[in-house]
Symmetry: C2
Subunit: 167 residues, 2 copies
Amino acid sequence: MKYTEAKEELIQAWGNLGYSWGLNKTMAQIHALLMISTKPLSTEEIMQELAISRGNANMNIRALLDWGIVSRISIPGERKEYFKSEKDVWSLARQVARERRKRELEPILKVLREVSEVSNDGSEETKELRKVVKELKGFAEKSDNLLETFIKAEESWFWNSIIKLLK
Amino acid sequence: MKYTEAKEELIQAWGNLGYSWGLNKTMAQIHALLMISTKPLSTEEIMQELAISRGNANMNIRALLDWGIVSRISIPGERKEYFKSEKDVWSLARQVARERRKRELEPILKVLREVSEVSNDGSEETKELRKVVKELKGFAEKSDNLLETFIKAEESWFWNSIIKLLK
DNA sequence: CGAAACTTTCAGGTTTTATTGAAACACAAT
DNA sequence: ATTGTGTTTCAATAAAACCTGAAAGTTTCG
């Protein structure tokens, strides 16, 4: 397989994967581009590589900065801004985990905590609701803890423990 | 908090969470409804509770059946079909993990394996691409193993190991 | 200050995805 | 074969998400 082909396939595939990680397609493609680039890229270059508009590029770069997986670089003597991606897969995963925990898990936990205070009027329905909510809450809390550990963990330590699990 | 209110909040929140798990909103809401229902529900009842059309209900119920987290029930002597959800949170999570692994992780792994055969022409770009792909592949494979273990694991065994990790 | 270089915003347009509702289909009972 | 009951399909429509490009904003420098 030739370089250009490989690059395009990777950007494409990364776009899809990113999508299922909660990014959007363009965001993920910009990210892929930065991942495999040997040097920081300017907005201009990104627009050109992916054939997207300035506005689109700008908004998605901002979103990536927001997620904390891309950073701004200035090159001395140049006005333009350049961008580079965090390239370490492990920190990347941690960062994504951190954001998703904040954006998704925390809100549902909040609701579950509220809802778990439904007054027990003794009816079947209420009993079932309370039971389900309690289980969901337990599960969500365990996941939250696990995520937190993951986020704080050192790579080697984490994978070593996991590998033990897998045996 | 009163029952009706709690129920609505839960359905709402579950809708959002489901969305970030790869289901769509309606699908997740139907699921929430079945989770807290004390008995199987018919299409009719679901339509009514969520104020959605017959077609919509039908399609999303089918999608839930497809994901394997809802099942069809027939009640003897009745023509109508009823549906109930798998209520155990743990099997639910396993089932979702199984599907997402199939739908998301496997495709990217396939691409990474292909792309990792990019011919090494000695250029900077190619070198970087190969490096990144190698790392991603390693990560994806580890995740794949972890997921597989999760899918096959017994609840108690899994959480016990995890809890050890957390300490 | 004023112009050049660059970035950000946002109203409007496009594409994608989800929903409706009516028609077609399936099947059992008469 | 017809009717009653329920399910599935799908073209049309609506809603949501996304992208564009030009205009407005910002910063730097002579």
